[in-house]
Structure formats: structure tokens, C-alpha cells
């Protein structure tokens, strides 16, 4: 069974600085998708960034980028120029591309942003 591990229960970053959230996963599949979701106090899960395993290039979305290391099964999220609005719970998630397959989430990392 696939598992997703987030080893950092909580992280803090100063406003305008950079922070990296870690995620590792376990799978025997070669083709899959990886996601980072943000969950603010409003509870809605918001997609931050996604990565397709067959693409070697790391995904980037504005201030958010990933470091995808397929052989190491590592998928970290880097947030640059951190803003107060980035404070939230961040979840790493995995999905196989087969029809109807589920998202497997990690336990999450709470990110606190200090002003």
C-alpha cells in the first residue's frame, strides 16, 4: 500500500523568508501524481502545486516550487517570500493515475508565519 510521510509536524518562518516542507512517499508504481494542498482555518483544501512522476522538471507555481527526487521518493515544497496568508496546514498527497483511484495524504505540517 502507498504511504505518505511528513516528518515535520510544525514549521515556522519569518515573513519574506523561505521555508521548505518535507514529504516522502512509498510506492512500487512508476507513474503517479504528487500534490501539495493547503488547508487554512476555513478548512477548504486548496491545491498548491502538483507534479507528474514522469516529468523530470520540478513544478513551479509563483512563489511555490517543489524538489522532486523520484529515486529517493522525496517531494519537498519550497515557499519563497513567505506571506502571512501562507500560514496553514500543508498536506502532501499521492495518487495513481488509474481510473477512480484515491488521494493518499500525509499527516500534515502546520506552517506558522511570523511578522
Amino acid at each position: 500500500a502507498q504511504t505518505v510521510t511528513q516528518s515535520q509536524p510544525e514549521m515556522s518562518v519569518q515573513e519574506a523568508e523561505t521555508v521548505t516542507l518535507s514529504c516522502t512517499y512509498d510506492t512500487s508504481e512508476s507513474d503517479y501524481y504528487l500534490f501539495w494542498y493547503k488547508q487554512p482555518p476555513s478548512r477548504q483544501m486548496i491545491l498548491v502545486i502538483r507534479q507528474e512522476a514522469y516529468k523530470q522538471q520540478n513544478a513551479t507555481e509563483n512563489r511555490f516550487s517543489v524538489n522532486f527526487q523520484k529515486a529517493a521518493k522525496s517531494f519537498s515544497l519550497k515557499i519563497s517570500d513567505s506571506q502571512l496568508g501562507d500560514a496553514a496546514m500543508y498536506f502532501c498527497a499521492y495518487r495513481r493515475p488509474e481510473y477512480g483511484n484515491k488521494l493518499v495524504f500525509g499527516a500534515g505540517t502546520i506552517l506558522r508565519v511570523k511578522s
Binding site: 478548512r43 491545491l47 493515475p97 477512480g100 483511484n101 484515491k102 488521494l103 493518499v104 500525509g106 500534515g108
Partner: protein, 116 residues
């Protein structure tokens, strides 16, 4: 456009009771998934429905059931509630189950269920 809407936002039930949670997907989305998020944990997959048929089921007891209607809205039912069923229940929609891999699901804000 309205996002994924869930109702109610909060509810409190007593052990042994039954509860029904509702989800309306984004217009045009035909697939709905349900997740349970216990406090301090990541969401756990419960069900996925597409075109009114069950397409996936997580490791949950038979007390949990769901259905999807012709307008693609969905209900999650939980019978014989236990204290451990207290959680945030999230609904997510996509055009198809496979499309969720391209853009990810769009989630609602969830229903907070407290069992006392």
C-alpha cells in the same frame, strides 16, 4: 461559479444515531469523493462516485454508505455513530475520476461532525 458546497457545516449527534451529509459538486463535475479527516490527521478516502456508480471504497465499515443522484450531488450516510466518527468530512469533485490526476480535486469546506 459556485464551488463545492457541503451541508450542514456543523452538527452534533449522539452515539448510536444516524447522520446524512450532503455535497453538491461544481457545475459540470460528474465525480464526487468523500474523505474523513480526524483532528490532527490527514484526510482518509471513504468513497468515490462517478455517474451514480461507486468507483472506489476505502477501508471503512459498512456503517458508512453513500449515493450519487442524477444531478451528481451526493449523500454520505453513517449509521450507528461511534465517538470515533467525530471528524471533518470533506467532499471533493472533478469532471471524471481520472481528471483528478491532472488538476487535483476541488474540495468543499467540509462538515464538522461531533458525536457525543
Amino acid at each position: 461559479d459556485a464551488g463545492v458546497t457541503q451541508s450542514p457545516t456543523h452538527l452534533i449527534k449522539t452515539r448510536g444515531q444516524q447522520v446524512t451529509l450532503r455535497c453538491s459538486p461544481i457545475s459540470g463535475h460528474k465525480s464526487v469523493s468523500w474523505y474523513q479527516q480526524v483532528l490532527g490527521q490527514g484526510p482518509q478516502f471513504i468513497f468515490q462516485y462517478y455517474e451514480k456508480e461507486e468507483r472506489g471504497r476505502g477501508n471503512f465499515p459498512d456503517r458508512f454508505s453513500a449515493r450519487q443522484f442524477p444531478n451528481y450531488s451526493s449523500e454520505l450516510n453513517v449509521n450507528a455513530l461511534l465517538l470515533g466518527d467525530s471528524a471533518l468530512y470533506l467532499c471533493a469533485s472533478s469532471f471524471t475520476p481520472g481528471q483528478a490526476g491532472e488538476n487535483g480535486y476541488t474540495f468543499g469546506s467540509g462538515t464538522r461532525l461531533t458525536v457525543v
